[in-house]
Assembly symmetry: C2
Homo-oligomer: 425 residues x 2
């Protein structure tokens, strides 16, 4: 029965039931952590073969370059090809960097601040104001980068087939200070939503007042499917080229959730003009990234087929964890009309919306009961969810055995908060 249709007495009765359940869990002294989208140990073990010394017994690239020594600013050709195959981009439009895609994204935007883009020589730090569109809910560290650089962040709702394009088109058409936007186009953090091809075409072709509008296309989960293969998606770089805006798209990805988060390789892909420009800027910053680790990755993962085969092993570990979350939501929440939750087919998160004004309280209650979730608001710019209703669930790290209980505790907290809200009406 929907809570909103219950009588006051029914609500009070139900509240007592849920409080009794909550107290029972309190007594258990749980200590569960579902805060971070970290791979679990079992997932990390899938890549231990990358540590085999035999992989780097030959320290040279196919071209005969000794990966131990200096050089090769944009990454060894084999690694550029591998990351290009992952992103659907030719190797020469790819730059392979160090272990962190966040680092590459931050540095690109810092470069734009200091030097402008390939299209405009005017450094963004010389602009009166720089604004960036942030689909919400989204990834806190994206927002953090642009916040640290002093950008004004404009939240735009992320819908199941991509961000609210009507709103974005209206915004960017008239405001030249809007210099770009964040996006996690596939299995988005935290909703798992996948941008539709129609949305991608509109992003690629929309007129923008800023002549150097940039889409930070963080394809973090591009092959991170939970089934057997990744969903097909229009390639933004190709779409932008076709639409006559070739330099608009900047793709970013890494192997952090393929091999090791602490020791993977990251890459960016873009138009030839952007890659040439970034290479010039990079030449002031470094002589080159860790080529031995690039070599390890190439020899361990091999090619796109190797990548997909490896990701199927990840999916086998992650799928039951996602299912465990969804099963509890189905069981506990169906028909109550107090919770909506996403059912991702990839990525690392499930996003839920609790009744307005309840998210912070729910997370605090769960934490008091020994189950830690990502802080409420983290999925919004500056950590503030104006409706205080979104919570990110990260099922990857905890053992499967804990997930059912953790989500049950969460459901109880949601019910209590929803009931108290209804009773105080």
């Amino acid at each position: 029965m929907q809570y909103c249709k219950m009588s006051q007495e029914q609500l009070r009765e139900e509240l007592n039931v849920q409080k009794t359940r909550y107290d029972a869990y309190m007594a258990k002294g749980l200590s569960y952590d579902m805060t971070r989208g970290k791979p679990c140990t079992e997932q990390l073990d899938l890549s231990n073969g990358i540590l085999d010394e035999s992989l780097v017994a030959d320290v040279k690239t196919e071209g005969g370059l000794d990966c131990r020594n200096y050089g090769v600013l944009t990454g060894i050709p084999e690694a550029r090809a591998l990351m290009g195959a992952m992103l659907g981009v030719p190797a020469d439009q790819v730059i392979v960097g160090g272990n962190s895609s966040l680092n590459m994204m931050h540095d690109l935007l810092a470069f734009f601040m200091l030097h402008g883009t390939s299209q405009s020589g005017k450094p963004w730090c010389k602009e009166e104001k720089v604004k960036f569109i942030c689909p919400v809910p989204g990834y806190d560290r994206h927002f953090g980068v642009t916040q640290s650089l002093g950008f004004e962040l404009i939240p735009v709702d992320l819908l199941p087939d991509g961000p609210d394009m009507d709103r974005i088109e209206a915004l960017v058409k008239s405001d030249a200070s809007i210099k770009g936007m964040w996006s996690v186009p596939k299995y988005s953090n935290p909703t798992g939503y996948v941008y539709s091809d129609d949305c991608i075409r509109r992003l690629a072709s929309m007129p923008t007042a800023a002549d150097d509008f940039r889409i930070m296309w963080d394809d973090a989960y591009t092959i991170h499917f939970l089934g057997d293969a990744p969903v097909e998606q229009l390639n933004l770089i190709e779409a932008c080229k076709e639409a006559g805006n070739p330099d608009r798209a900047i793709m970013i990805a890494s192997t952090s959730k393929i091999t090791f988060p602490g020791a993977g390789i990251a890459a960016i892909a873009s138009s030839p003009a952007n890659i040439a420009y970034f290479t010039k800027l990079l030449s002031n910053q470094t002589i080159g990234s860790d080529k031995m680790n690039q070599l390890r990755h190439v020899r361990f993962l091999k090619d796109r087929e190797g990548l997909l085969a490896h990701m199927r092993k990840h999916a086998d570990i992650l799928r039951p964890k996602f299912q465990a979350v969804l099963e509890v939501f189905d069981r506990e929440m169906t028909g109550l009309d107090i919770l909506s939750w996403t059912k991702p087919e990839g990525g690392y998160f499930i996003s839920i919306d609790v009744p307005e004004g309840c998210a912070s309280k729910v997370v605090a209650m769960a934490k008091a009961c020994g189950v830690a979730f990502t802080p409420a608001g983290a999925t919004y710019p500056c950590g503030v969810d104006p409706l205080d209703r979104n919570i990110r669930i990260a099922p990857s790290f905890p053992p499967l055995s804990q997930i059912g209980t953790a989500i049950e505790v969460l459901c109880i907290c949601i019910k209590i908060c929803a009931l108290e809200k209804l009773l105080n009406k």
Copy 2:
């Protein structure tokens, strides 16, 4: 006999002798490369043990942290301790980064541009002008970083015991736009000079008009001795603290020329306030650097004793190469009064001064004869040596068997240019 004391006829005769020698080498079709301070293959092989999988069979730090996963922004404690032991700085004043110290230096200065320093919240990009002192001859990539950020570079002569301190003190006392300086304090690139303790005390204590003056102390060759142990040198961080300018010093180092240039670890060290400030800025840029590579380094190099033992093996390979260069200079150039050269006890370079106006021509002549040296001017800001006389010799990479010949060709070119200059007088 000194060339300047020769008669016109003697000069012409000597020129014929040297031209004949030059032509003989031309006929040999040499192809030698002495352009870059790269370790040679034999040196790289010294560190192949770092690739042993047994080193990372246990993926956890002493504190139990899985180095494969996310986290630990400032580096694993063991790596901070190792790099601290190398630099003579407590581990908690060290941040270990990725594979490139140049990258860390660039990013620190980019942070200062965008966010200011720990002492001044005013971003340097909001200043009318930012100037930086560059001891010359010096390292081209240092100059390149500050040039790319739009700084005005002020060259100051590097003398055998450090930069011209009278000049530096006078400059920084009155000009608040001078925000800092570069330095390679030990076995400097390219002279091999070592800053004296007196110079270091003056750098630490000199009054500066800028309240956030920063010394980029690139201790790139801190344990890169050619003898049996590194020369002792006053610690700049301690000297700055003692002088009441604790936040002035930023040390930088890497294992690029200890293990692998393409796959080492880099670090910065500074005051507690600076480290706290950098950590805050870093938290926007990355989740952490490659911890598996940090683990490899810690387990392979162990501690300061391990580092020094390893560097003695490098010295055994490099020493004969430096000696081969110096022997040819002694044999060819003694008494002619046309060349001065340094006799480093460490580092990667020998610096020579040819007659004024001759350096570019000498390098071009040697190149035409198949022997490539670092381009003349590279050791000066913007690649311009105003007296066109300094050339950097990098003996590390070519095989020992080539060095004698390469330097002989260089000497012949110097003689020809010097003689032609004297004859045109």
